[in-house]
């Protein structure tokens, strides 16, 4: 199990945290266009490399923090300070809908 470096709690098992996806800036809702907004909602960089992402220390200090992780080697870089501007739509966290009865979701091939 991956160790995720929570800046508050130290390295914690990834199961103790909630992944909140790529850290992308929220467009200004007053001036945004459909293209820009839906890019924010749906588009992903999804790199095979360093990815800036948000985690929620859901079983620990309950802080949101941004961190850079390498998506191939699973290394983390020195975490930035908590509280960077990184909201994502709740419905689309890492492919698991949390809208409605999330427990009913499954993957199956």
């Amino acid at each position: 199990m991956l160790l995720v470096p929570c800046p508050n709690c130290g390295p914690r098992n990834s199961a103790d945290l909630t992944y909140r996806g790529e850290a992308s800036a929220r467009p200004n809702p007053a001036t945004t266009t459909p293209k820009e907004w839906r890019d924010y909602l749906y588009s992903e960089d999804n790199p095979a490399g360093w990815l800036k992402e948000t985690w929620y220390c859901s079983s620990g200090c309950r802080r949101f923090f941004a961190v850079e992780r390498h998506t191939v080697t699973s290394e983390f870089r020195e975490p930035p300070l908590p509280g960077s501007k990184t909201p994502k739509p709740l419905g689309d966290v890492g492919g698991r809908a949390v809208v409605g009865d999330a427990s009913e979701l499954e993957g199956e091939q």
Binding site: Y19, E44, D45, N46, T71, V72, G100, D101, G107
Partner: protein
């Protein structure tokens, strides 16, 4: 049917004859050098890519086609899934699409002259809460309207179909009902890959293994490098040499975003591993596929006697296929909730495959803003089931230069318009 039928047909008589003469079968597909130019280059030698190439040749007479795979054929999701097929989806679009796929699977052994061992053993999706029961009924009702054999059954009937399930009412997750789908089942996934590969090869399609795509060459696009929106595809750079081609079909999973990136496109995809595991074999006792959405587990028993398990995708995006211990722990816990009697069976092997997850759990298919660059990607955890129909429809899309009706709902442009596909409609949908 194998059109030009270069090689000998497979048959029991053939086995007998070769057994007596002690002679080997000829190569299942040719080993050919990379040509300088192809009409169509398919990236990804899995079920989707090979089926696309096969149907291009068989249905549309386009045979100057190359299929490229960076490893061996079927090395990605096609060989890593748990080989379950079914068509009891939630939306009419989904049902029609997967039903066509199931029909192609059903006749595949005869059509392609290779036994893919389709086992129509039935598929049970368990419901442990009344909201899950409601969703099962929703699916059953939509299915029935399209003449799909699908119904909601109660614990007694479930127990008759799968006696190993604990259907008593006092478990932590009591089994209240199930969606029963008799036409669902399992299939030998590698055989599907080989059947398409062999059949495509017989039409003259070139299959290139260990041939990695390094770049896609484009011109005229809006990006500084000439890629991106408005560009036209001119060729493909590979680890084995350059190819000129005006049509490139991206049939990859896990790397779909990276291949699209080579054409200057960004996709609504995050890549997550999906893990699976298999036990040591025991005598066959589980006659159907059993799925529990609430418990994130699905299980079937192979003809060899192994239990094959799968779960939901890993919670965070990664390209690392190392697998986790927590997956096996959660899996085993939930399997024992359903079938306490298997506690002494042993897990033999675990593995992972990469899944490209889209926001609405539906694929991205057809045209893209780059001319000549087609996508058949974003298949999440259900790509294997859709392999045949995707190949058939992608071939039609490429050959006709028009989007076939069956895949119209899955256009990339839907995200820009906020028109997501309804499979997300109930979060309670099992894929």
């Amino acid at each position: 049917m194998i059109g030009t039928n270069r090689g000998p047909r497979y048959s029991g008589a053939g086995l007998l004859w070769r057994g007596l003469r002690k002679s080997n079968w000829p190569r299942v597909w040719r080993d050919t050098p990379l040509k300088k130019s192809y009409d169509v280059v398919v990236v990804g030698g899995g079920v989707h890519g090979l089926a696309t190439a096969y149907y291009l040749a068989a249905n549309h007479g386009i045979t100057n086609v190359a299929v490229l795979d960076k490893a061996y054929l079927g090395s990605g999701g096609s060989g890593r899934n748990t080989a379950i097929v079914r068509s009891n989806y939630l939306t009419p679009e989904g049902v029609a699409f997967y039903d066509r796929s199931l029909a192609l699977y059903k006749s595949m052994s005869a059509d392609l002259n290779l036994n893919v061992m389709f086992s129509e053993r039935g598929h049970l999706t368990l419901a442990h809460t009344d909201s899950a029961v409601r969703t099962m009924r929703w699916r059953a009702e939509v299915n029935k309207l399209q003449n799909i054999d699908s119904s909601v059954i109660g614990p007694d009937e479930i127990k008759k179909i799968a006696p190993s399930l604990d259907t008593s009412p006092h478990t932590r997750y009591p089994i209240l009902a199930a969606l029963y789908h008799p036409p669902g089942g399992t299939i030998r996934h590698d055989a599907v890959v080989w059947a398409y590969a062999r059949a495509a090869d017989a039409y003259g399609v070139d299959l290139h293994q260990k041939t990695e795509v390094i770049d896609i060459e484009c011109a005229g696009g809006s990006n500084p490098d000439g890629k991106g929106e408005g560009a036209k595809v001119t060729g493909v750079k590979t680890s084995k040499g350059d190819i000129s081609a005006r049509v490139v079909v991206n049939c990859t999973a896990g790397w779909a975003g990276l291949i699209a990136g080579m054409a200057g496109l960004k996709l609504p995809i995050t890549t997550h591993p999906l893990q699976a595991a298999v036990t040591e074999p025991v005598k066959v006792f589980l006659p159907t596929v059993v799925v529990s959405g609430s418990l994130h587990v699905y299980v079937s028993q192979t003809d060899r006697g192994e239990l094959v398990f799968g779960a939901s995708v890993d919670p965070f995006a990664t390209y690392d296929m190392g697998g986790t211990l927590d997956f096996t722990e959660e899996l085993a816990g939930h399997v024992l909730e359903l079938m306490p009697a298997v506690s002494k069976m042993r897990l033999l092997r675990q593995w992972a495959g990469l899944c490209d997850i889209t926001p609405d759990y539906s694929p991205v298919m057809g045209f893209t803003p780059v001319e000549g660059f087609f996508c058949d990607v974003g298949w999440g955890t259900y790509g294997f089931k859709a392999g045949p129909v995707s190949g058939e429809q992608m071939a039609k899309c490429v050959a006709d230069q028009a989007t076939p009706e069956l895949i119209a709902p899955f256009a990339l442009s839907r995200f820009e318009h906020g028109m997501l596909v309804g499979e997300k409609g109930a979060a309670a949908v099992g894929h």
